[in-house]
């Protein structure tokens, strides 16, 4: 009994410790940033592997999610004879919620896990400590470009996701089911506000990008340097990122769109 209570306290304390380590780690990474000229090629390479290579999965998912929204929305709205509102429904769902959230989940699975595994393997094969031996700060050389790349790539991916989704919805709604194209775009433009909807969606994806890449690089940097340690760190990255994204999404939605 006493042991159980003690282990509960122990896990609580270790959780607080890991939060503290993550915060200190983040401070260490961000304080090492300002070296734009030398760091730029590194950032570009990471933007390529984190952003450009995630483009395919984001575009395909966006297209299909838009098409499904179009089909489902048409089925429901045509019961009320208001299938012209389908454009408005698709655009608001994508721009406000699905764009940022689904992109962040895909990003955590596609790019976050790769970041963790890469940095974890660097740690296990002692590349990070040999960098330190050579006087190169691994936080600056390895971690910071990856963190910034995730931070920059996520909003770009989310915006592309929303655009492709809206286009996919038009493909189903207008081309296939025969909603009048003018009312598809007209209803959309009447109800979507640039600042309230589009910009708030972009802000959401910036927050998600920051959280996802922070979790990914921290888990890699902090993993137990064994093969089992790397695999559990990769799992943790995906699980924690998904939970953090969904939880934060609720908070951000309540702040941005809740009227109170």
């Amino acid at each position: 009994m006493i042991d159980k209570i003690a282990s509960l306290g122990h896990s609580g304390i270790s959780m607080v410790i890991s939060f503290g380590r993550a915060g200190r780690f983040l401070a260490g990474v961000l304080s090492g940033v300002p070296r734009p000229v030398a760091g730029f090629p590194l950032l570009m390479r990471q933007l390529y592997s984190v952003g450009v290579l995630s483009l395919a999965i984001v575009v395909v998912s966006g297209l299909f999610i838009g098409m499904v929204l179009g089909l489902q929305g048409y089925t429901i709205l045509s019961d009320f004879g208001s299938e012209a509102a389908i454009g408005q429904m698709i655009a608001l769902t994508l721009v406000r919620e699905l764009g940022p959230v689904v992109t962040a989940l895909l990003f955590a699975g596609r790019a976050g896990s790769a970041l963790t595994a890469e940095i974890g393997l660097m740690k296990a094969t002692e590349q990070l400590s040999s960098m330190e031996m050579m006087g190169v700060d691994p936080l600056r050389r390895v971690i910071a470009p990856r963190l910034w790349a995730g931070f920059i790539a996520m909003p770009v991916l989310a915006v592309i996701f929303s655009m492709v989704g809206i286009w996919g919805g038009m493909l189903v709604g207008v081309e296939w089911l025969g909603v009048f194209e003018g009312s598809y775009w007209g209803n959309m433009q009447a109800s979507v506000d640039f600042r309230d909807d589009v910009i708030n969606g972009v802000i959401k994806s910036v927050v998600f990008g920051f959280v996802c890449s922070w979790i990914a690089v921290y888990q890699g940097y902090d993993c137990v340097p064994t093969s089992a340690g790397i695999s559990s760190a990769t799992t943790k990255t995906v699980v924690y990122s998904s939970l953090a994204v969904l939880g934060l999404d609720f908070v951000l939605t309540a702040v941005m769109f809740g009227n109170f």
Binding site: M44, L55, V156, I160, F194
Partner: protein
């Protein structure tokens, strides 16, 4: 991969993001470069605004001529005071026009329609509509009908 190729692909990626944002701004949210034209504000007092909300439209003969800015309660008269911004080029609304709350379709959103009066004077910025007609309330309509009034 060579650094140059990486740079070019990443550049294209960022441009695609920019183009997507532009698409969301222009095509989806209908933000047009010329929509930043001048507007002027007029007011109207209603007994019952129904479901009027800010960003709703103000129309005249079915054509949108402005948007609703705010809906507030006037604590002295207990009426709702609606501020609306009218496009600057519609500057000849007769001063005795009425602001009427209408519903588009049976279940559609509510908007303000300006029914034109015959006065030679026109409304100036900051003026208040002299006559208004509140939102049609279906429950009140039915109860009036049922009690035979």
């Amino acid at each position: 991969m060579k650094q140059r190729t990486t740079d070019i692909t990443v550049g294209l990626f960022m441009l695609a993001g920019l183009a997507a944002l532009l698409f969301l701004a222009l095509q989806v949210s209908g933000l047009s470069p010329k929509s930043a034209k001048s507007t002027y504000t007029v007011y109207a007092d209603f007994n019952d605004t129904g479901g009027i909300t800010p960003r709703g439209r103000v129309s005249m003969a079915g054509v949108t001529v402005g948007t609703i800015d705010s809906v507030t309660l006037n604590k002295e008269t207990f009426q709702a005071r609606v501020a609306m911004s009218i496009h600057g080029d519609v500057d000849n609304i007769p001063a005795d026009s009425a602001a009427v709350i209408r519903t588009s379709g049976l279940l559609g959103e509510q908007y303000i329609d300006i029914s034109i009066g015959g006065d030679m004077e026109s409304l100036k910025p900051g003026d208040t509509f002299y006559s208004t007609q509140s939102a049609m309330n279906i429950e009140r309509l039915i109860s009036n009908f049922a009690s035979g009034k």
